[in-house]
Each structure stands twice: as C-alpha cells, then as structure tokens.
Amino acid sequence: MDEERSENGFENVVSMRGITKRFPGVLANDKVDFDLRKGEVHALLGENGAGKSTLMNVLAGLYRPEEGTIRLHGKVVEFGSPREAIEEGIGMVHQHFMLVPSQSVTENILLGLKEPRFRMQLPKYNQIIGEMAGKFGLHVDPAAKVWQLSVGEQQRVEILKMLYRGADVLIMDEPTAVLAPTEISELFNTLRSMTEQGKSVVFISHKLHEVMDISDRVTVLRKGKVTSSGLNTGDVTRADLAHLMVGRDVVFQVEKSEAHAGDMVLSVEELEAKNDKGLPALNGISLNVRQGEIVGLAGVAGNGQKELAETLAGLRPVTKGRILVNNQDVTNKPVKLGIRHGISLIPADRTQVGTAPNLSVTDNVIMKNYDQAPIGSNGLLNMSEAENYAEDLKLAFDIMVPTIDTSVRLLSGGNLQKVILAREISSEPKLMIAVQPTRGLDVGAIEGVQKLLLAQRNAGAAILLISEELEELLSLSDRIYVIYEGEIMGEIRDNDINKIGMMMTGTRLEQIEGEGVARNE
C-alpha cells in the first residue's frame, strides 16, 4: 500500500488536485484542490452554484473533469461512471433519492448487483442488511417497502446501499434539506459512528450551523474556487465561514425600519377549508394584514399553512367564512380576479406550481400579466413587448441566465426564485403571500429575498409571510400569528420565542397568559 501522507502525518484517502470542470458558459470548478482524510467528516461549504455538487460529482464518476487528477490512496484514478467509482469505494447519496417505492429495502439495496444471482434469498439478505444497519445506527426495517418509509428512512436506505457496495468514502449532497430536526440529529449520529469505524464522509451543505455541528474540517468554495481549504472546524466561527462563503460579512439580523401600518388590506373571517384528502384543514381562521407591514404565520409544517395560502389565492375552495381584500369580497372568486385585485402568491413549490419548467424565462415572467397591456391586448400576445419586459426583469433582479429564451428548468434554485419574485413583485401587488420564500436558498440569496420583501413592505404592500424558519419570521415580521391544526393560537407582537414555541405545539395565547396571571396571584 503506497499511502500518501500529508505533511502532518494524516492519511489522505482522497486527494483531488487542480480539478477544472466547465459547463457551457460557466466555469463550475476552477483548479480546485480537495483532500479527504481517513475517518473525518469534511464539510464542503458554499452558496448554491458555488460548485460543491459539481466537484463531488466529479469524484463520484458522474462528471469528467477537463483538467486535474484524482488520487485514491495515492494512486491516480479515473472514473467513467458512478459504477466505477463505487467499485473503488466512493459512494454518493444524492439529494433526490433513486429508490423503487414498491420494493422492499433489501430489494432496493440488492438491485443491480451480481449477487444474489437468481434466487433472491430475501430472509438471508434481510439479516445481513439488518446487521449492517445496526452497526451504523441506521434504523430501518429491511423487509419494509420503500413507499411506507419516511423521507429520513429512505435516506438511510440510500446510505445503506452505498455501504453495502463497499463505500469507504461517502459523499452526502445536502442531506439535511429533506429531514426533520430529530432525523438530522440521528443522521449526525450515523455519520459519527461511520467515521469511528474508519470511513470518511464528505458533507455538502450551505447551512452554517450544521457544518459547525458535524464536521471535523471545512473547505469553502465560492464561484468555483476554493476560498479556504481544510480548516479545522473548531478553529473558526460561524461568522468566519459566512464571510469565506459569500465574500463579505453577512448581516444575520436584517435591518428593518419601523412599520407604518396603514389601511386594512387583507381580512380573513372565520375561514374554513378542506385539504386534498377532503379532511378539514382550516377550522375558522381569522386574521388581518395591513398596508406596509409584514405579518408572519408561524407553525409546524402541515398545520394548514399551505391550504390557507391556496384559499387566499383562490386556488382552493372556501367551505365557510369570508376573505376580504381592500374591503372587496374575493371568497371563492376565480384566481384571475384575485390577481387583478393585487393578490400575489409566492408558492412554496417553485417547480411544481411556481413555474413551467420547459418554457422560457420570458414565458414564465409573463404568467400573471400576459393578458394585460402592453404584452396582451385584444386577445393577441405581443412577444417583442414580452421579451423587453423579461430583459428588464433579468437586469433588475440580476437573474443569471445566458438568454431569456433559456428553459427555466435549467436554472438553479436561487435563480428560479428570482424569476418568481421578479414576476410577483413587478406586478406591484397590494397583498403578497410568501410561502417559504427562502427555503433551500443559500445565505446570499436569502438575504436578497428578505431585502426584496422588506422593500415591498416599505413601499406599502401588505405581506403575509408563511414560513417554518422561526429565525426568519422573527427578523422580518412586524407581528406573528401562530397556526396549529388549522386554528390561530394567537398573535405575538413582542417576538417572545417561548410563547411562540408553546403556541406551535397547541397552547392558546389566552391559556399561556391565563396561567401567567394565575401564577402571579
């Protein structure tokens, strides 16, 4: 074994040198060096589009670099496919899982392997995989069908798949994006037990606190280049990393002026609606939003936030109650009428609802005003006006695309959100409903989105911000409602996190205050 040892005596499992990878019009990786030591969790930090996933896709055999070499245990290797990479012990768990829902965990893991050959011998393999799972704390029933599993469990299956194929180096691409908080801590335990058993982990993320929690070392990428390589996580602060990542100091607290709340814009009275399964989702919601204020709606996911946003936009029928916008009744009115009344919705799901993926940027930005002059008149569509409009928005909102004819499915998450924001903000809405507007975006993009929302508020729009990120709600909102099982638990004006936490788990504000009074007496 010709092991390469770095200067200070650590064993480098992987060392990548001078990796350059180009995509048309983009230099995704520019002479990137990266070392991975045996038994460490190495975080790869960077904004969306910084080249983290590209670099690791090169290591995992998905892409071929134009320049540079990869050494595995000191020996130069070159992978033509992910299969060749996993044969050498490098496995990657992607953001999007590749599992067959109707098959069991074991079947999914064995899929595509040479053994077992013909007879599946499932009980035997169930046991082998069960033991392997136990060894790394990956709790999942090998006989369960994949469709019955939670997202966190499915991720464990993907990890097991790689371990079963003999991965010594595990690359995790934004593994926490899909997980609930408890699942995240379980994942971290698994990663630790893996490194204790001599495996090495690359942890791709743009979430600073997670990087601080889990990693031994950090490499930071910005715009395809390494800004800092192999720092010991213990020696740096969150602020240091944020600076390295975006190239400037990030203001974690958004600067916000005093709210000047004006006339009532949105007034919801005793609203009731059903969810997709026909079960009650909203049980008598009453709330209001005034001009020039951001009103937050806090709550654990799945307590009726999605349904509320959809009923307000006219996408879901109201079964009881009223919605008033500028004193006009828009309850159960067509979506288009809502748009004409100045209701704008930034949907949580950018690709499934917010955009048409195969259509161009132009076609996507005119979605709300294609029938309004100057783009639309007398039933006709003026494409040159539409293109001018798209060019203007591309400049104003700094949308990074080669041309406005590009299909939006080719855009990164942050750019896609810019397309949606550009469209919604430029319609000068009176009421803006923003659902999870910063989810999945990197630090720089989040700041940009938040600034845009504040600018809208200051310009006099009424904004209902529906988010699961408490930090974001606290820093942006002028007051916060808390929703629980389709009911409003109360309204908070003093950013009291303890109260919000209790309300999110089903305690009414009156009860909290009542108890407080009782205790004082």
């Binding site: 050498e88 936009a313 979506v335 748009i339 979605m367 294609y370 039933g379």
Partner: protein, 377 residues
C-alpha cells in the same frame, strides 16, 4: 489495489475514444429539432432500402419509382396534394391537442363524423338540391366541423369534468363513429342496396383544378381540390393562434405545467374542452373535404387510417402547424406510392420507422453527446 491495476491494463487495450451522454445544461440549438426529424426520415428510408434488398428487390429502383409516381409529373404531384390535403388537417388536429398534452387519438373518428355531417347537408337534405354551390360548400364545411367538434367535445368534457383518460375515450369513440357511419350507408342512405350513398350532385363538389381546364389547359385532369386551400389556411390560422395569441400562450402553459397554469388563473377545464373541440373540428373538416372533394358520396372506405397517420405527422412536424404541411406532403407521397409498390408494404414500414425514430430522437434533445479521448496514464 490489484483490482485497480487489472482495470488499468484493460483500459490500455481499449479504443482510445469513448462516447458519453450528458444532461444538457442549456437549451438545445434551434436547428437540432428539425434536423432530427429529417434524420428520422433518412433512417426510415435506409431501413426500407435494406428490407427491399433482403427481399430481393432493388432499393434504388423502388425509390426511383416512388419518387416518379409521387413527384414525377404535374399529374402525380396533384395526386400527392390530394392525399396530403386530409393529412394536413388531421395533422393540425393532432398538433393542437398534443401541444396541450391532450392525447387525442380520435382524429379518425372525428374525420368520419365530419364526413357524416357534410353528407347530411346533401342527403338529409339540409339544403334544397338546387342551392348554389358556394352555399353548399360553406354549409357542408360548417356541418363537418360541427360534427367533428362534437366528437371532440364529448371526450373533452369527460376529461375536464371526471378526468377520464382521453386516450381511451377518443380511441373508443373512433369505433362508434365508424359504426355510426356504417348504419347510415347500409340502412338509411343506401344506394340501391350498395353500402354507399348516392353520388352527390355537382353543386356539392369542391371545385377542382380540372374544372378550370377550359380556361387553362395545364389544369386538365388535375384532381387537386379546394380542400387544399382550406388545409393551408387552417395551418396558417393555427400557427398564428399558437404563436401570437394569449390563447396560444395558455395552451403552452397548460401543456407544460397545468398546476402553474391554474396558479396563473388560466381555466384548465374550459381549455381542455375548447382544444378538443378545435382538434375535432379540424379532423371533421378533413372528412368534409375528402367527401366533397374526392369521393363525392358517403361510403365506408373513405380513410386509410388518416386519423392515425395524423399522429405521426404531428410528431414529425414537432407540432409546428407550418411544418405539418411539409410532413403531410411527404406522407401523401408515401400513401400514393404505397399503391404503386404494393404489396411490399414498404411505405407502411417507412411510416412506422419514422415514428419510432422520432420518439427515440427526443433523447438527443435532453442529452448531449460527447466523444471523449481516454486519458493515458
């Protein structure tokens, strides 16, 4: 470690280049899509040649023959155009529906219903026998389109209201349409017991080029009829609707992402019904034009599967109404030549291979092909 070395030595013997498919990270160039259509046709012709060769024929001679009998003289060009006329209309019918990802494969049935509606004007009769020609033709066209639209409306409504799969419903309705026609030609409008109606009187015929032979000699014997003008006009109107109107934009938006369209306030159900009706009306007009321009009576064998050929034409034209005209002329020639080179079945084979190649070629719109030189260690 040893595993690595084995692989490397194996690699040393391998061909120094390899082909890799990568996901496209930007839009494919504009010329690629039409190029793929042309390549599909070329592949089909080459495969056809191979089959002819295996069967002991002379491919070159056969193709020469096909070309001669579809484009070789003014007379056969005119015949090709006659075949292309209904194909353009059904090709357009499929194109507009497919743009919205509505898989209307009922153009065949809508064609028969259109033929029925047009015949009704003469046979019921809707108009007195001696009504003027312009009145007959315009009424027949309207009736043809109405009945075709009705045959699109039913599956459209079922889809919009109850989400009934339009592939199944339109296909089933093809059989109903054909049997419906059969009932009338066997029982109601039968001509002396034959399975066809009586010949239409002359003022219910679409004008043909040969009608003007007295004034212009070159037109004598040319059967190209006014249906071709209907077809080309329809293609231009449809192109305009899809490219230049708000409705065209709505169709594009629904076709790509119905949920986004709903979110933008576009009424999806109404558009499904509307597009199915327009699609049906176009196929119905094809039926009318065939009845009034070529057959001049209602009978059973009025379509050699035009409605299904329209599906292939729509794909070959990449759903572009103007390209539908070109694709239809090619297919018109193939149908015409089919008679010339029967019973070899080569033209049908070519149609089939074109369809398969087209579906396969979508791969190249999504992926990029790269030839990579293997790096020597």
């Amino acid at each position: 470690m040893s595993k690595v070395e084995v692989k490397e030595s194996a690699r040393g013997l391998a061909f120094p280049y390899r082909i890799k498919f990568e996901d496209r990270v930007e839009n494919p160039p504009r010329w690629l899509s039409p190029l793929l259509s042309i390549v599909a046709v070329v592949i089909a012709l080459l495969l056809g040649a191979l089959v002819i060769k295996i069967a002991g024929g002379q491919p070159w001679a056969v193709y020469n023959h096909i070309a001669k009998y579809s484009f070789g003289s003014l007379g056969v060009i005119s015949d090709t155009m006659v075949k292309a006329t209904p194909l353009i209309l059904v090709g357009l019918a499929c194109s507009i529906a497919f743009r919205m990802k509505l898989w209307n494969i009922g153009a065949e049935g809508q064609f028969f219903l259109g033929a029925f509606g047009a015949s009704m004007v003469v046979l019921l009769p809707v108009l007195p026998e001696d009504a003027p020609k312009w009145l007959f033709i315009s009424t027949m066209a309207v009736f043809g389109m109405l009945f075709g639209a009705l045959w699109g409306f039913i599956p459209g409504l079922l889809k919009a209201r109850y989400n009934v799969n339009e592939i199944i419903s339109t296909l089933m309705m093809n059989y109903i349409a054909i049997e419906w026609n059969n009932y009338f030609i066997y029982a109601v409008w039968t001509d002396k017991g034959f399975q066809m109606s009586r010949m239409f009187q002359r003022n219910a015929w679409l004008p043909r080029l040969s009608d003007f032979a007295k004034r212009w000699k070159v037109f004598s014997g040319l059967t190209t009829h006014m249906g071709l003008l209907f077809a080309i006009g329809a293609a231009i109107i449809l192109w305009f609707i899809l490219a230049k109107t708000q409705w065209g934009y709505e169709i594009r938006l629904i076709g790509d992402n119905p949920r986004a369209a709903e979110y933008a306030g576009v009424k999806i159900g109404r558009n499904i019904v509307l597009v199915m009706m327009v699609s049906g009306a176009l196929a119905g007009l094809a039926g009318m034009s065939e009845i009034s321009g070529v057959v001049h009576r209602l009978q059973g064998a009025i379509s050699p599967g035009y409605g299904y050929t329209g599906i292939i034409i729509a794909w070959l034209a990449k759903l572009n109404p103007l390209a539908v005209i070109l694709a239809s002329i090619l297919f018109g020639a193939l149908i015409l030549a089919g008679r010339e080179v029967q019973p070899s079945g080569i033209p049908t084979l070519i149609q089939g291979v074109i369809m398969v190649s087209l579906i396969a070629s979508d791969f190249f719109l999504r992926k990029r092909v790269r030839v990579i030189r293997r790096v020597e260690e």
